[in-house]
Amino acid sequence: MTSAAQDAGTNVSPLGTPGAEAIPEQKKFALVASKGGLDELYPILIMGSTAGALGWDVRVFCTFYGLDLVNEKRRKKMKVSAVGNAASPPPIDGVEFRVPTILGILPGMNWVATWMMKNWMKKSNIPDFETLYQICVDSGVKFYACATTLGVMNVKMDDIVEGAECLGATAFLDFASEADVSLFV
């Protein structure tokens, strides 16, 4: 299904729209994950997997509680905190009743908030956390464990997921200084 235009060696499509002038230069994307809740790390994976799909060079620096993203022991137990989130949605679809935020301190409320978020994701056909992480890895997204956080939180490299490397802030900033996009979450 090669077009006549391509046969003629030009980049003009049969519909007359300009084609790709050149291979776009690979963009660099520096992403810092500093928070450890499921609701705070999901956006990292959505941004990362999207940029990975665009062919960007994506590097995620996991620091402070964001280290949980690459911590083998903690990543499967990630929760959504029921405390301190004034934007918590009504628990029942279509019923405008908000749970008073103070009830977030009750035992089991984090479990409920976590269950709710996982349920929305499932209903919206968004892959679960582990699948989305794997999509990132498959599209070339690189994850780094902050060296200082490893020390401060006494996490060993043995606990870090395979493929994630240890990096200091200087090395990451070296990459970020040339990045086209930098985000801190």
């Binding site: 299904m1 090669t2 077009s3 391509q6 980049n11 499509s13 519909l15 729209t17 084609g19 790709a20 050149a22 291979i23 776009p24 963009k27 959505i46 997997s49 999207t50 990975g52 799909a53 665009l54 062919g55 960007w56 919206s124 056909n125 968004i126 892959p127 999509i135 599209s139």
Partner: protein
């Protein structure tokens, strides 16, 4: 009225939200040859601007797009 475009591959992303349509499109375009056409169907309301951005970022060509019964239809040509 859409011009019938012969597609080499069809990617149905009905019911899927960001980032999956873009992830799947990036995979699917690699499964066809340069110059071939990928036809994508999506329902994500973010898909029209997202796929415009996708061709800008990846360098592939959007041959045509249209909306039909609440579905967004795209035809992409692999350019590289």
């Amino acid at each position: 009225m859409t011009v019938e475009i012969e597609a080499n591959k069809v990617l149905d992303c009905t019911g899927l939200l960001c980032p999956i349509p873009v992830v799947k499109a990036s995979q699917a375009i690699k499964e066809i040859e340069v110059g071939q056409i990928l036809h994508m169907i999506a329902t994500d309301p973010g898909a029209p601007p997202d796929m415009d951005a996708w061709v800008r970022q990846t360098g592939h060509e959007m041959v045509d797009k249209t909306e039909e019964d609440g579905k967004y239809l795209f035809w992409f040509k692999r350019t590289r």
